[in-house]
């Protein structure tokens, strides 16, 4: 029997569960230097906002054991530039495109959602709530479940029907309540999760290794943490469509996330280490499925025992 790798999100079939993670494949089709992007289940762009952002001062990255901390600062050319220059590069007929977006106030989020919501070539939006609200003293939207729910409801209204996946922050112990609020607000599903707040210090210069003093940790180091939280969300909200993000580097990692309840799996840091990693992992996923006697990958969703 032919191996079925396809999955579905917001009513659309994806040919396989692999997608890029926002911020690790740019705003454009640079990655197509390394493989045909249509091989992916979906492509998630780096975050965009209404106004361009130049990003943080260097140094913006540092390496930790099996991890990468970044404080890129959401550098992006602004939504208008993105729509005019980068969006047309994508083969949107054959590759579902998910555009990640953010703001620094409720109004800028809504403005971004409204501009992107009109674009037919975009399959879905991914709303990054791990951002500070400048109108509320810099408190992170993702830290307050009620504020997050309210924000998501307003953005969804502005998109006029485009599916919105909400990308949760793993940094807050109330993430289950946030998941609940944003799903009630009408989100199509959840991306679990963004990076973990982290830092590193250079003992010679006695200074932080990153210009901001801290950043977000990604890579293999975070996989066990995000795997646990994703499973907790799946246990509480078994009907909710989940996109896993955090530390995936092997076909085994993909299967773990699906067993824990994911419908799809993003590759982030692994693409930075090897830009061909999506097709390498797709091949090894096929081989692993054959070896494990799996005919339909999505039959494993949420099937972890005990």
């Amino acid at each position: 029997m032919a191996l079925k790798l396809n999955t579905s999100l917001a009513g659309q079939t994806l040919k396989n569960p692999l997608m890029t993670a926002s911020g690790t494949s740019g705003h454009s089709t640079l990655l197509s230097n390394y493989f045909p992007l249509e091989k992916l289940g979906a492509f998630v762009t780096k975050g965009v906002s209404s106004n361009a952002k130049i990003g943080n001062k260097p140094p913006r990255i540092c390496e930790t054991p099996s991890g990468l901390i970044n404080c890129i600062g959401l550098e992006n050319p602004g939504i208008k530039f993105f729509i005019d220059n980068y969006l047309p590069q994508f083969p949107s007929e054959t590759l579902p495109l998910i555009v990640n977006f953010f703001g620094n106030s409720v109004d800028t989020y809504i403005k971004a959602a409204a501009s992107l919501g009109q674009i037919e070539e975009i399959f879905a939006l991914e709303l990054n709530i791990s951002c500070p609200n400048v109108q509320k003293g810099g408190i992170l939207f993702g830290s307050d479940p009620i504020a997050a729910g309210d924000l998501v409801e307003k953005c969804i209204k502005a998109t006029q029907g485009k599916p919105v996946f909400v990308k949760l922050s793993p940094a807050f112990s109330n993430f289950l309540e946030t998941a609940n609020q944003v799903m009630q607000a009408g989100a199509a599903g959840l991306t679990c999760f963004n990076t973990y707040p982290a830092t590193d210090i250079d003992i010679q210069s006695k200074s932080f290794k990153l210009s901001l003093g801290k950043g977000g940790l990604s890579g293999p180091a975070i996989l066990p943490l995000s795997l646990l939280k994703l499973h907790e969300i799946h246990t509480h909200f078994p009907e909710v469509e989940l996109i896993a993000s955090g530390g995936v580097n092997t076909a085994e990692d993909i299967i773990k996330y699906i067993l824990a309840g994911a419908n799809a799996v993003q590759l982030g840091t692994s693409i930075l280490i090897n830009p061909t990693s999506p097709i390498v992992l797709l091949d090894s996923l096929k081989n692993l499925c054959l070896k494990m006697g799996i005919n339909n990958l999505m039959n494993l969703k949420g099937k972890v025992k005990g």
């Binding site: 913006r60 390496e63 054991p65 990468l68 890129i72 550098e75 930075l272």
Partner: protein, 249 residues
Amino acid sequence: MNKLKPNFFSAPILSNQKIGKNYFCLKVKTPQNIDQVEPGQFAMLRGKWNYDPLLPRPLSIARAEKFQLDFIYEVRGRGTHLLSLMQPPREIEILAPLGNSFPPPENSLPLLLAGGIGFPPLYFYQQKYGGKLLAGFQTNPELDLFSDKIIATDDGSLGFKGNVLQLLESCTEINNYSTIMACGPRIMLKQLKNRCSPLQCNLFLSLEEKMACGTGLCHGCAVKSRQNDYFKICTDGPIFKSSDVNLEE
């Protein structure tokens, strides 16, 4: 020029030998002919170890001929240490060629100024096109690549005692050069930029920053532009006209 597209490949190690105090030369076999690689371009390299170190390391290409790439590197931390232990017949993952390159000479040959482990791309340039190379080190690098006359050491253990800019002032007339190319620590590049700003010369700098991907995906390798936004060193550079970048940030 017909620029080669970057390619990710597993490269068999031909040799990886100590060539100086803390310096190694790694030679690898490539799956495609890389004659078109230009001095200044670089590669991301990673041994096939598990997750630590996680990221590939950027190294300049020190020579490219037919199906062979050479790198010269200094052991600085864990990544370059592990790299120095790898011997044939092991293979190494390489993403190359990356970035832009120093411009080929037009009317006259350039002055090439290297600080520390900044010399490999300039050495490549000199071998390919010529030019006057001066190289500064903290201490005698024990390399067999250069004549003592073009070396400066901070401690005076070899060649001129002082830094490479002081050597330059002592042995040649900077005004004789319409083009200067340099690679080295940021502090040296800043001093050189200041020194050259009243002059008429074209100054090209090879910049370094921590890199995760080397290929424009992560936006990790930022340097401030004259317009006050950021360039990505890996794809907009690593070679910049000095007037295009703001090194003061």
